[in-house]
Symmetry: C2
């Protein structure tokens, strides 16, 4: 069982995948401007809506701002690597896939998911161990964007990237120490953009699989960007270059 807190995330899961939703809890007396949409989808789809004591909702969701509304789903559906490889076959525009090599901050993960969907990336790959996963907090903070992009969990990131490489995707790592600027790199190809851990960056085994490692040139006194901001900067440059074609 997994909870989806917050009205916006609830609407996204109901729109994207209503069959996944078991029930909705709403705090008694709560007036939410977008509640009507929730209730009308639940009516149509036969999803029960329960009006609960605010306390009961807070007990279910310790330390999460839930805005008095929560959806209960069975579990988050990750996609397997093989399913994903089938899904991306035969696309007619250049592909962007994102690989997160041991990101540990849920806020960063949520922000990257949202940004990836915004810029039209086709999937996000995360490792099973020592990594964020799709928790209630991530569902809330990404405002439900997780339901619009396949999220693939793999046991071994380097091996997964090798498989993608064999399918013809370029594996492009990112690091402040790289010599190639993202503005000079040619992003017109199918690719996996690899972002590393907040402190340690990309691990050695994953670096070895990368065809190229690129950086964001520094223009000031601070030498590193937050990884979620970096993701936005890279994805923006990718779509900018491709737009021209």
């Amino acid at each position: 069982m997994l909870t989806v807190p917050g009205i916006r995330a609830i609407i996204e899961v109901l729109r994207a995948n209503p069959s996944q939703v078991k029930e909705i809890w709403i705090a008694k007396g709560k007036r939410l401007s977008r509640l009507e949409e929730v209730i009308s989808i639940c009516e149509r789809e036969g999803i029960p809506v329960y009006f609960k004591n605010p306390k009961d909702i807070s007990l279910l969701l310790p330390n999460i701002t839930h805005q008095g509304a929560v959806a209960i789903i069975s579990e988050f559906k990750y996609v397997s690597l093989d399913e994903f490889l089938k899904k991306i076959e035969g696309q007619d525009s250049y592909l962007t896939v994102i690989a997160l090599d041991h990101i540990t901050d849920e806020g960063n993960f949520a922000s990257i998911i949202r940004t990836a969907v915004f810029f039209g990336a086709k999937g996000i790959i995360i490792p099973k161990k020592r990594s964020v996963s799709v928790s209630s907090q991530v569902l809330k903070r990404s405002s439900g964007a997780c339901f619009y992009i396949p999220i693939v969990r793999v046991t071994n990131m380097a091996q997964a990237l090798e498989k993608l490489s064999k399918k013809g995707l370029w594996i492009v790592g990112t690091s402040p120490e790289a010599n190639v600027s993202l503005y000079k790199f040619d992003w017109n190809r199918d690719l996996v953009l690899v972002l590393g851990n907040e402190q340690k960056g990309i691990g050695h085994s994953v670096q070895k699989v990368c065809h190229e490692i690129v950086n964001i040139p520094i223009f000031g006194a601070i030498d590193s960007l937050n990884v979620a901001v970096s993701a936005g900067v890279f994805l923006s440059e990718i779509v900018r270059q491709r737009q021209k074609n």
Copy 2:
């Protein structure tokens, strides 16, 4: 009195402005890899270092992860608009100034400060009311980047932007509803980039002062980006275009 929590932020304030630091507290028995640099600067500058009970540090900083180290400074030094206008006179490269029209999330503010310094922006303007300010949380989460960029607090944002406009800066607003794409806009000019509130965007009075309003084109199912990620995307495109010259 203001606290600067976290070893990285402490090092930044000591490097940027040691005379501001009154004392340093370090948790007894704490082994920090970068502590030697802190202690050697404190010795040179005559700043007292106190070894405290971890509990005492936590009492001083409720709800903040302080990593067992905190600097105590008298206050954060904002820059007045007039001082700032003098500071930016006679620059030989194109100027970027950032204006935050009622940002309310401290994490977003901290991330924007860091990104602004990274991409070489020359200052950040915030309103005095209904806005984030430089708190201990912001100092920690920006890893001390606040000490590398003037932060200007103004009573009336629209009037402040008018003053900057009269000095020859273009006032460029950002909004998902704008028709001009950031990739098409010519960023080769002195300018103020205006980012709006997380929910409401840029207010009417500020919109009126803008010479142009630009957007980030959407490529997916989600129609808005986090404001801190947007800041990174805009600043990256600005430096990319200017790099060519």
